[in-house]
């Protein structure tokens, strides 16, 4: 069917969409690159050219930068750990035949449909509030001092909130993977004398390896840009300032577009490095 004619027609008809996508992507990127070389502070009315790499040097050399990198990694690591481990556990539980399986599965997936801002607010006010929160009530009920989660364990609290949002995603992917495991393999392992733990370690976990890498890859891409949860809860205070949040502060709060743009470009580069590494790891895992 694909004659020379229809192929060029297809190209012509796709061109507007491709063009739009290119503009959509390239214009902001080029603008950001351009801004990152300027001393651009709109409130002071400065718009001076030719900072060169000055903004980059200033962004990287501030102590906030390295702190934010560390915070980002802690957040990423914490959420990945909780969602992967919890996801495997939940997937195994949901794979068991139980009454009302369909409803339970939908309930488990529900948090994924809640908007980040909303879920962060719900957690902040309903659960973690030191006076009226459910956690505070629970602590008081057993005679413990209520904890002010967001100021005493701010990063951990945010990790908890984000994990709650992403656990359904991990569970869903891992559940489908577990369901595709051939039950005869487990039976064979049982006959071979493997106990429940060995069966999990030698059969189930290797079977899940591929899906775990997919979960880690996809979550990493999204978790690097976590913003709403921090904005709504701590506002970047108490050591919860990630790289994304730092860029936001530089641009909006300090009104230093040049410095913020430089930070943005650095974030893009770092995210690409992470993505490249993950792609290699996943690629290897997917080949096998």
């Amino acid at each position: 069917m694909a004659t020379q004619h229809s192929r060029s027609a297809a190209r012509a008809m796709m061109a507007p969409a491709v063009f739009l996508l290119l503009v959509w992507m390239l214009v902001p990127l080029i603008l950001t690159l351009w801004f990152s070389t300027l001393d651009y502070r709109p409130l002071r009315g400065t718009f001076d050219c030719c900072e060169g790499l000055g903004n980059y040097v200033r962004f990287v050399s501030s102590s906030a930068f390295w702190d934010s990198i560390l915070t980002t990694l802690q957040l990423l690591g914490g959420v990945l750990l909780i969602t992967v481990v919890g996801g495997i556990g939940l997937a195994i539980l949901l794979d068991q035949p139980i009454w009302g399986q369909g409803v339970v599965r939908i309930l488990v997936i529900a948090p994924f449909f809640v908007m980040p801002t909303v879920s962060a607010l719900v957690w902040k006010n309903m659960f973690m509030n030191p006076v009226n929160g459910l956690f505070a009530h629970a602590f008081k009920a057993v005679g413990l001092e209520p904890v002010d989660w967001l100021s005493q364990f701010p990063l951990f609290s945010i990790i908890l909130i984000v994990s709650w949002q992403w656990l359904p995603f991990a569970t869903l992917i891992l559940l489908t993977a577990i369901q595709s495991l051939d039950s005869e393999q487990l039976e064979a392992a049982e006959m071979d004398g493997a106990g429940p733990l060995s069966r999990f370690g030698y059969i189930t976990l290797p079977h899940l390896a591929r899906s775990i890498t997919v979960v880690v890859l996809i979550q990493t891409i999204f978790l690097l840009s976590i913003f709403a949860e921090i904005f709504v809860t701590t506002g970047g205070a108490f050591g919860t300032r990630t790289l994304t949040y730092l860029v936001y502060q530089r641009v909006i709060e300090s009104q230093n577009v040049g410095l913020g743009s430089a930070g943005g470009i650095i974030a893009v580069i770092l995210a690409n490095i992470v993505a490249a590494i993950l792609m290699r790891v996943v690629g290897k895992n997917l080949d096998a």
């Binding site: 064979a188 392992a189 006959m191 004398g193 493997a194 059969i203 290797p206 079977h207 390896a209």
Partner: protein, 334 residues
């Protein structure tokens, strides 16, 4: 040792009884084949013996000790699954070594046994590959290797050849028979293919809907089927079962004559019919002959080079000593 006794073993899934109480004795070193149409409960029976399903009643004894509630691993049996159930992320060597590793055996002994099994089954050339890189026959061998390294008291095979092509199936059939002769270990083999049952078994157990229809050596079942079901199931092509007036002449409700027990002649015989489809196999020719008054066409075996064709008239005389007689319930009349 591998003497397995089933005493009134029954299995029900909810309200559905798939295996009504059933007794069976399997002697040490026997090659026993469970055969029957699909859904007859033969795989379930095997899984009950393996311990992968819990019995709903009765007792399973292995070598005299009660194994009814033992875990599968403790029964000392090894199983080869229909899908082979190899561990895809492990090499052939690790697959075979897995049961030994789980038993906590030391490394030198594991290596010795794995190498031994690999040599017996000709796996040595692909011992470091993964199951995904192997052909069906090779995977089958690995699955058998994983079973024999454990030196079990009995092997259980669950339709192991059904995923192989016809040529490989014949080859593997021979290999499994040879393995049985060499190891002299009890083997229980489940199949729906009566050819596999006839060629491999010391003892065939014919099952229908969870019931044992008949137990016996292949030739016993061939010569004296206890009922019409066994008569029709054992032997290929199927025995011709004839009801009505012809059967009453022999004082039976149904008579059965195997395709190979007819004399063909051009002049005259007991029955006269017209040849329909004929299948030329080279060594034999099978004719489907329509005889007026019979409900179904008869299948007749003739020599390979018979010069008879579609539409020809043929005279048939059943071998009088080879007529099987059955009563109205399908049971054999002696």
């Amino acid at each position: 040792m591998g003497r397995i006794t089933l005493d009134k073993v029954r299995k029900a899934f909810g309200d559905v009884e798939v295996i009504p109480p059933l007794d069976l004795r399997i002697e040490d070193g026997e090659f026993v084949v469970f055969v029957g149409p699909s859904g007859c409960g033969k795989s379930t029976l095997l899984r009950l013996i393996a311990g992968l399903e819990d019995v709903s009643g009765g007792e399973i004894r292995i070598d005299g000790t009660d194994a009814t509630h033992l875990s599968p691993a403790k029964r000392g049996l090894a199983m080869v699954f229909q899908s082979y159930a190899l561990y895809p992320h492990m090499t052939v060597r690790k697959n075979i070594a897995f049961p030994l590793k789980m038993a906590g055996m030391d490394k030198a002994e594991i290596d010795r046994r794995v190498d031994g099994a690999a040599k017996v089954l000709n796996l040595s050339s692909y011992i470091d590959r993964r199951p995904g890189q192997l052909s069906g026959g090779q995977r089958q061998r690995v699955a058998i290797g994983r079973a024999i390294v454990r030196e079990p008291s009995a092997f259980l095979f669950d339709e192991p050849l059904s995923n192989l092509d016809a040529a490989l199936r014949v080859g593997m059939r021979l290999e499994i028979s040879e393995l049985h002769k060499r190891l002299a270990t009890t083997m229980i083999y489940v199949t729906h293919d009566q050819v596999e049952a006839m060629t491999m078994a010391d003892k065939i157990v014919v099952l229908r809907a969870g019931h044992i229809e008949q137990v016996g050596s292949p030739l016993e079942l061939y010569r004296t089927p206890r009922n019409t079901f066994v008569a029709g199931f054992i032997g290929s092509p199927k025995m011709n079962l004839i009801e009505g007036a012809e059967a009453e002449k022999h004082g039976a409700h149904t008579i059965g004559v195997r395709p190979e027990h007819f004399q063909i002649s051009a002049e005259g015989g007991t029955w006269t019919g017209t040849i329909g489809v004929s299948e030329h196999l080279g060594s034999d020719t099978f004719f489907h002959v329509t005889v007026p008054g019979f409900a179904e066409p008869l299948t007749i075996r003739a020599g390979g080079e018979v010069d008879l064709h579609y539409g020809d008239t043929i005279h048939l005389t059943p071998d009088a000593s080879q007529i099987h007689r059955f009563d109205a319930k399908g049971l054999r009349l002696s």
